[in-house]
């Protein structure tokens, strides 16, 4: 973080900054003091959008918690109270409920962007791994949040998912009892989930700070995947990327608003508007859409423990991606074969999602197994081997050369003018 040399113009601000350099910190991390590659495309907007969604979820969540009752008898009623009697409660709740989906959409695109442009490769391995930690924390947080309205899908989703831990040998049953706070999903479960659902976002915030810190050491990767060679390859973050991020936020908010204002329940399940009933099992217990690919992997294995292990391996695998990919070239732009496999992986994940949404019968079982197998083949076989045998395209000498030579007549800014 290049904070050195920043002198605020305002005297009072300067006085403060000399004692606590918070303005220097901002200047060096989001301001004009942070140089970023000049060629970032719109896929680099999704990091700031994820940050935005974290803040949106925190703010709306804190307000919801003021009106919510974490008891088995009161939870469902308090949610309806929020929807009906709290001023703009419907708005806050719909932003929060759909916000979870938006957060995952944004983060999934952010992750796939990292996979496409090789953003996980040296020297950004820690940055990438912190991102995987954030993903895991988000999944835990979202799962516990979905339990809070105490509808049918809340209750049965919690039952199914917490039961998975019972597959672990020896300690499994103890873990489940600990998660439940008893011998079935009941009020103690709801209360600890509420407490943890409130806590984890702050843990996420902490890891996000580390994630941004780790980002600022090497700086952003870029679509060409080559290192920055000098200041001619860069622009200051402010105003260039603040303006671009602001545009991204604007477009994204329209997309978000379509859900909040016009189809607020389309991403949820109707069953969750039925109060939780331990005696009635819904015909299809299905997790939220963002868990469907993992759910498909879980069910692809006929053995319970095997399924659980494979599901956790699907995420855990991501930690090893920086070392599984053996190619020296970062960006898929210069890796024609990798590019094909990348899109195959995207399709594979979508197929897994569709499989996860369908009952495990007939052809879905086979499709689910094939798609699961491919997911692991991609990371464990394709990535290591491809790096060794793929013939990559020649890399440009520098970002500025690659970007600026496209426009004929433009002066090469590598030579300092004036």
């Amino acid at each position: 973080m290049a904070t050195g040399g920043f002198k605020p113009k305002n005297k009072a601000v300067r006085w403060f900054d000399e004692r606590l350099p918070i303005f220097s910190l901002l200047h060096g991390s989001l301001g004009a003091g942070y140089p970023a590659p000049r060629n970032l495309n719109y896929f680099w907007n999704f990091g700031s959008l994820a940050g935005l969604m974290l803040v949106v979820q925190l703010v709306t969540g804190i307000v919801l918690a003021m009106h919510y009752t974490p008891t088995a008898a009161g939870a469902f009623d308090s949610v309806e109270h929020i929807m009906r009697d709290v001023n703009y409660g419907w708005l806050i709740r719909y932003i929060h409920a759909n916000g979870a989906s938006m957060f995952f959409i944004v983060v999934f695109i952010h992750i796939f962007r990292g996979l496409y442009y090789g953003s996980y490769k040296a020297p950004r391995e820690i940055l990438w791994m912190l991102g995987v930690v954030i993903l895991l924390l988000m999944m835990a947080t979202a799962f516990m949040g979905y339990v809070l309205p105490w509808g049918q899908m809340s209750f049965w989703g919690a039952t199914v998912i917490t039961n998975l831990f019972s597959a672990i040998p020896v300690v499994g049953d103890h873990i489940v009892t600990l998660l439940w706070g008893g011998f079935s999903v009941d009020e103690p479960t709801l209360k600890r989930f509420f407490s943890l659902h409130y806590l984890l976002p702050f843990v996420i915030t902490g890891v996000v700070i580390l994630h941004i810190w780790a980002l600022h050491i090497p700086g952003s990767n870029n679509p060409l995947g080559i290192d920055v060679k000098g200041p001619q390859d860069q622009v200051p973050f402010h105003p260039y990327y603040t303006a671009k991020d602001a545009l991204g936020v604007g477009v994204f908010l329209i997309f978000f608003g379509l859900f909040v204002f016009y189809m607020p329940n389309v991403l949820g399940h109707a069953d969750n508007y039925i109060p939780a009933d331990p005696l009635v099992t819904p015909p299809h217990i299905v997790p939220e859409w963002y868990f469907l690919p993992f759910y498909a992997i879980l069910r692809a294995v006929p053995d319970k423990l095997g399924g659980v292990l494979l599901m956790f391996a699907a995420v855990g695998l991501l930690f090893a991606v920086p070392w599984l990919d053996t190619s020296k070239v970062r960006s898929a732009v210069f890796r024609p074969t990798f590019k094909l496999f990348f899109w195959l992986l995207v399709v594979d994940c979508i197929v897994l999602g569709v499989v996860g949404a369908n009952p495990p019968e007939g052809a879905w079982i086979l499709v689910g197994r094939l798609a699961t197998a491919w997911y692991f083949i991609h990371f464990l076989l394709v990535l290591p081997l491809l790096g060794k045998i793929e013939k990559t395209r020649p890399l440009p000498a520098s970002i500025s050369e690659a970007v600026i030579k496209k426009d004929t007549g433009a002066r090469p800014s590598a030579t300092p003018a004036e």
């Binding site: 309806e80 001619q232 200051p236 329209i254 608003g257 995207v346 600026i404």
Partner: protein
């Protein structure tokens, strides 16, 4: 990465597919019905909500509660304060304890909620052959298929096919999952007298009561759509400004200018 949108679209398609698969099965899709509250500008037809409330009160409410319906809510769908108070006063509400520690009955007030027809779930089951009539407050949101499904269910009663046998307390409904429903056909022609002279056919009453239940499930819908319109109009202008700002800021860099190297 031009296939970028395919990623977003793919994710969306996955959700859409995930959504539709639930409706699959042996039961037909709900009928296509037009409701006043459909679409981005839809509102609740006040007259229909009021007729639907009448159907609910005179027919459904003998078995089904609507515990989130407060009488004050009626003011939002075109009832005058006097009318809403008069409706509330028709109900006897248990209040108390009074200064002597006794519970007492009094006429309902605007702040009261619609009382449940049964004192508890067991009483409700005992009176309904073991089946629990669900509370209808959010039923439109709690059923896959929403309002069209509720409408279809109400008009979907039929004789069972010859090869199907119904036990006592079972009825045949085309749109119910599994077809065998514990609720007898609730609506018959001219069951209620509409004050505005509308003919009380089964279809009309079903349509009205569905409109009422849709309002009850989502009373803030009109506010939501209205705010959504304002939000969309504002954002579309704002995004154009953001686009122009961004374009202008980047113009010289696009032409090859390097702000960190080239001095002004």
């Amino acid at each position: 990465m031009k296939k970028t949108s395919s990623l977003v679209l793919g994710l969306l398609a996955a959700c859409a597919l995930a959504g539709t698969t639930f409706a699959a099965g042996g039961t037909p899709e709900p009928k296509k019905v037009d409701f006043s509250f459909d679409g981005p500008f839809g509102t609740f037809d006040r007259a229909s909500v009021q007729r639907g409330f009448q159907v609910y009160r005179e027919v459904c409410a003998s078995c089904h509660g609507a515990k989130y319906l407060a009488f004050r809510n009626l003011l939002d769908v075109g009832y005058s304060e006097d009318m809403a108070k008069a409706i509330a006063a028709e109900y006897q509400i248990t209040d108390g304890p009074d200064d002597f520690g006794d519970m007492f009955e009094r006429p309902g007030k605007l702040s009261d909620y619609q009382p449940d027809p049964f004192p508890n779930d067991n009483a409700a089951r005992a009176s309904n052959g073991g089946a629990m009539p669900p509370d209808l407050s959010v039923v439109v949101k709690a059923r896959e298929g929403g309002a069209p499904y509720i409408y279809s269910l109400l008009v979907g009663y039929d004789e069972p096919p010859v090869d199907e046998e119904l036990r006592a307390g079972q009825y045949w409904n085309t749109y119910f999952d599994g077809h065998k429903i514990a609720m007898p056909q609730p609506l018959y022609d001219d069951m209620v007298d509409y004050a505005d002279g509308t003919a009380a056919t089964v279809e009309q009453m079903s349509h009205d009561v569905t409109t009422f239940l849709a309002w009850l499930a989502e009373p803030a819908m009109e506010d939501r759509k209205k705010m959504g319109l304002g939000f969309m109009l504002f954002m579309s202008v704002f995004v154009v400004l953001l686009y122009l700002t961004n374009k202008r800021i980047w113009r010289r860099v696009k032409d090859g200018y390097s702000p960190l190297v080239d001095k002004e």
